[in-house]
C-alpha cells in the first residue's frame, strides 16, 4: 500500500513537473486583454448574438434563396503543411448475404480521420494565443491535456445566427482601377500580398450602402478562392500567400463589434504579412485579444455575384458549429439566406 502510494505520488510529481516545464506560466494579464464579458467568459464575440440581433438578421430573408458559402471537403483540396482529412467508408452489409433481417436492411457509415482546421472552417477561441496566453487572459498551459482543452472549447460558443455582410474587395479594386489579378485565377482576384485596409473595407460597404452593426459577420470576397476551386492543380499557388486584411483593417473591424470575419483565403489576413517578423498578427488581434472568430476558406464568389446582381450585400448567416467539447475549431457548413 505504501509502495503504491509512493508510486502514485512519484507519477504525480513527474506529471506536474513535466507540465510546469513544458508550459512555463506567463503573466497573461500583461499579454492579453480581459474579456469585456467578464473574467469567466469563454464565449467571446458570440455573446453579441442576442435574440434581438438574430431577429433583426431574420429580416434579411426576403425570398428564401440559399447561397452556399462553403467549399466541398474532399481529397485534393488545399491543406496546409501536414494537415490531413481522410474518410473511410464502412459498407459491410452491402456484401452478398450481409443484409439484415427479412427487410434486408443495409447501412453504411464513415470513419472520419481529420484535423479540424481543414476546408471551410471556424477558428475557435483556443486556436491562437500569445505564448501560453489565450483569449480572456487564459493561461492555457493549465487547461490542456492530451486530447483537448478544458477551457475555451467550441462548446462554449453561442449561436452564429446573425446578419452576414459581404464586402466585395475585388469590385473595390476594380472600381479604383488598381486590380492586379494573379494570372492563375480564372476569374478576377486580388494578388497575394495585397493588404486590405480599413479604407478598402469602408469602400466595399459604401458600394452597397451598408453600415456594420454590432453582431454582424463580415465576409470578404478577394477572388483568391478561385485557386481553391481549381484544386488540386493550383493548391501550391493557393497556399503560397494570399490577399487579406491588414492590422489597421483588423483593428477597425474590432471597433465595429463584429462576431466573425471570413474570407475565401486560408488565413483571412494578408500573407506575406505587413511586418516580416510578425506571425499571423491579425489572428492575435481578432481571436486572442478580442474573441472575434476567423472563418477560413469561405466560398464567397456566389454571394459576390448575388450581391452584384441584386445590389444587396447582406444576408442571414446560417452556420452551425458542432458542440465539440474542447476543440480549437472545426470545419463548418455555411449558407447565406436571402
Amino acid at each position: 500500500m505504501m509502495l503504491r502510494t509512493l508510486r502514485v505520488a512519484g507519477l504525480a510529481t513527474l506529471l506536474f513537473g513535466w507540465t510546469s516545464l513544458a508550459f512555463a506560466q506567463t503573466d497573461c494579464k500583461t499579454l492579453v486583454p480581459a474579456s469585456p464579458w467578464g473574467p469567466n467568459d469563454q464565449t467571446g464575440a458570440t455573446n453579441r448574438v442576442t435574440p434581438a440581433v438574430t431577429k433583426a438578421a431574420a429580416a434579411e430573408i426576403q425570398d428564401g434563396k440559399v447561397v452556399p458559402l462553403s467549399y466541398p471537403l474532399t481529397d485534393g483540396v488545399p491543406l496546409f503543411g501536414t494537415r490531413f482529412s481522410k474518410t473511410i467508408l464502412t459498407a459491410t452489409t452491402l456484401a452478398p448475404g450481409a443484409a439484415l433481417g427479412e427487410n434486408q436492411l443495409t447501412y453504411m457509415e464513415d470513419t472520419w480521420l481529420s484535423q479540424s482546421h481543414v476546408g471551410t472552417h471556424l477558428d475557435g477561441l483556443g486556436h491562437i494565443g500569445r505564448k501560453d496566453c489565450y483569449f480572456n487572459q487564459t493561461a492555457m498551459g493549465k487547461y490542456i491535456n492530451q486530447n483537448n482543452m478544458t477551457r475555451l472549447g467550441l462548446e462554449h460558443l453561442k449561436s452564429f445566427a446573425t446578419r452576414g455582410v459581404l464586402i466585395d474587395a475585388v469590385k473595390v479594386y476594380q472600381q479604383a482601377g488598381k486590380l492586379k489579378s494573379n494570372p492563375n485565377c480564372k476569374k478576377p482576384c486580388l494578388e497575394k500580398g495585397t493588404v486590405l485596409t480599413r479604407a478598402d473595407l469602408e469602400a466595399g460597404l459604401k458600394m452597397y450602402n451598408v453600415t456594420l452593426r454590432e453582431g454582424d459577420i463580415v465576409i470578404v470576397h478577394t477572388g483568391w478562392g478561385d485557386l481553391f476551386e481549381q484544386f488540386p492543380a493550383k493548391n501550391a499557388e493557393y497556399n503560397s500567400g494570399e490577399p487579406g486584411i491588414g492590422k489597421e483593417a483588423a483593428t477597425w473591424l474590432v471597433s465595429q463589434k463584429i462576431v466573425a470575419v471570413g474570407t475565401d483565403t486560408w488565413a483571412v489576413e494578408v500573407i506575406p504579412g505587413e511586418n516580416p517578423k510578425e506571425a499571423f498578427i491579425v489572428h492575435n488581434i481578432l481571436i486572442t485579444d478580442n474573441g472575434i472568430h476567423i472563418i477560413e476558406n469561405v466560398r464567397t464568389d456566389l454571394m459576390a455575384a448575388e450581391a452584384n446582381s441584386t445590389n444587396r450585400a447582406t444576408f442571414f448567416f446560417n452556420m452551425t458549429v458542432p458542440r465539440a467539447v474542447g476543440l480549437t475549431g472545426n470545419f463548418v457548413g455555411i449558407d447565406g439566406i436571402r
Binding site: 497556399n239 491588414g246 505587413e274 517578423k277
Partner: protein, 349 residues
C-alpha cells in the same frame, strides 16, 4: 497641438467672444483634419535600381538573388505612402546609367542605387544631383548619398564567436582545428572581410586553436575533396567550420557525414537564406525540431528584408530628417532557438 490652437486665438483678443470661438474651431479643425489629411495624401515616387534580376543568380556571396531583394522592396512599400518604380541594372554600367536617366525623366522623388561600379555610381550621383533628386546607395557607396548595406566583417565575427562559444562549452581541453571554408578570394562580394572577421573572433576567443583556410574558388565541387582531406589529416580532432555561405555549409555537413566525422564537427554558415531555414513543414537544417544538427546556425544577411530597412530611411530623408551616412545590416546568428522568431513560417495555418 494646443499651442497652435491658442496662438491665433490670442491674435483675436478684444474681438467679440463669438469670433474668438469661431476662430478657435476653424484653426482646430484645420489642424485636426486638413493637416493630417494633407500629409496622408502626400505620396512619394521612389525608384529602386536593383543590381540584377537574373533568375537564380546569387548576390553578395550568399544564396539570395536579386529577385529576393526586389520582392522585399515591393512588400515593404505596402501600406507606405510610396509608389515604387523598379529598375534592373543588369550588372551593366550602360543600363545603370540609362535607368538613372529614365528615373530623372520620370521626376522620381528619390533614387536608390544598387550597383558595384564606383565610376558609374559617381556619374549617377552627379546626374541625380543636377536633377535635384536625393539618393541612397545599397551595399556599394555612391558619392554624397547615405549607404545601407552588408557588414561582412561583423558577420564573420559573429560566426567566429558562435564556433568559439560552442567549442568552449562542449569541447574544452580537446584537440581542435578551425577551418574557414569558401570562396576566400571573392573580393567583389567581400568574402575576404567575412573570412577575416571569423579569424578575428577565433584568434581572440580560442588563441590556441590553429586556423586552416580552404579556398573553394567558387567551385562547390571542391568543398568535399578539400574538407575531406583536411578532416583526414586531423584525426581525433574536433573540427570548427566557418562556411562563408549556406551552400558551402550544407556541403560541409554532407562531407563530414560521408567521411564519418559528423560527431567531430560543428558548422556555422553565413547568409541564412532559405536553403537552411524554412517553413514549419519544410524540415530544413535550421529548424526548432532539428536539435541534433551539427550546422548550429547561420549568420543572417537579410537581403530578403532590405526593403524593410531601406524604405523607412528613404522616407525619413524625404521628410527632411538627417540619416546616418552609413547604416549597416544588423547581422544576427540564426539558430534553432530563434529561427521562427526571426523568420516566422506561414505554412502552418
Amino acid at each position: 497641438m494646443a499651442a497652435r490652437v491658442s496662438r491665433p486665438a490670442r491674435l483675436l483678443e478684444g474681438r467679440p467672444r463669438v469670433l474668438h470661438a469661431v476662430a478657435v474651431v476653424v484653426v482646430a479643425s484645420f489642424v485636426a483634419f486638413v493637416l493630417p489629411a494633407a500629409s496622408q495624401a502626400r505620396r512619394y515616387t521612389i525608384a529602386f535600381a536593383n543590381l540584377t534580376e537574373e533568375p537564380g543568380l546569387p548576390v553578395e556571396g550568399t544564396g539570395f538573388t536579386g529577385a529576393d531583394v526586389r520582392q522585399s522592396f515591393v512588400l515593404a512599400a505596402r501600406g507606405q505612402p510610396i509608389d515604387l518604380v523598379l529598375y534592373d541594372n543588369q550588372k551593366d554600367p550602360a543600363k545603370a546609367l540609362a535607368n538613372a536617366a529614365d528615373a530623372i525623366q520620370k521626376k522620381v522623388d528619390l533614387y536608390i542605387q544598387y550597383f558595384p561600379d564606383t565610376a558609374v555610381n559617381k556619374d549617377v550621383s552627379e546626374m541625380l544631383r543636377r536633377a535635384g533628386i536625393p539618393a541612397m546607395a545599397v551595399n556599394y557607396p555612391m558619392p554624397g548619398s547615405p549607404l545601407y548595406g552588408v557588414n561582412n566583417g561583423a558577420a564573420g565575427r559573429i560566426a567566429g564567436e558562435a564556433l568559439a562559444q560552442f567549442a568552449t562549452q562542449r569541447w574544452a581541453g580537446q584537440p581542435m582545428v578551425a577551418i574557414v571554408l569558401g570562396n576566400l578570394t571573392d573580393q567583389a562580394n567581400g568574402l575576404p572581410e567575412r573570412s577575416q572577421g571569423v579569424r578575428e573572433s577565433l584568434t581572440h576567443l580560442l588563441p590556441a586553436v590553429r586556423i586552416v583556410a580552404l579556398d573553394t574558388r567558387g567551385n562547390p565541387a571542391q568543398i568535399s575533396p578539400l574538407l575531406g582531406r583536411a578532416a583526414a589529416s586531423s584525426p581525433n580532432t574536433r573540427l570548427l567550420i566557418a562556411a562563408l555561405d549556406d551552400t558551402t555549409a550544407l556541403a560541409a555537413k554532407a562531407t563530414l557525414d560521408a567521411v564519418s566525422r559528423t560527431a567531430d564537427g560543428v558548422i556555422v554558415g553565413l547568409g541564412c537564406d532559405r536553403s537552411v531555414h524554412g517553413g514549419a513543414s519544410e524540415k530544413k537544417e535550421i529548424d526548432p525540431n532539428n536539435r541534433g544538427s551539427i550546422l548550429i546556425g547561420s549568420v543572417a544577411f537579410y537581403l530578403d528584408r532590405y526593403g524593410y530597412e531601406v524604405l523607412p530611411l528613404a522616407l525619413r530623408m524625404l521628410h527632411g530628417e538627417s540619416i546616418p551616412p552609413r547604416t549597416p545590416t544588423r547581422h544576427t546568428l540564426i539558430t534553432m532557438t530563434n529561427v521562427w522568431r526571426e523568420y516566422p513560417p506561414y505554412d502552418m495555418q
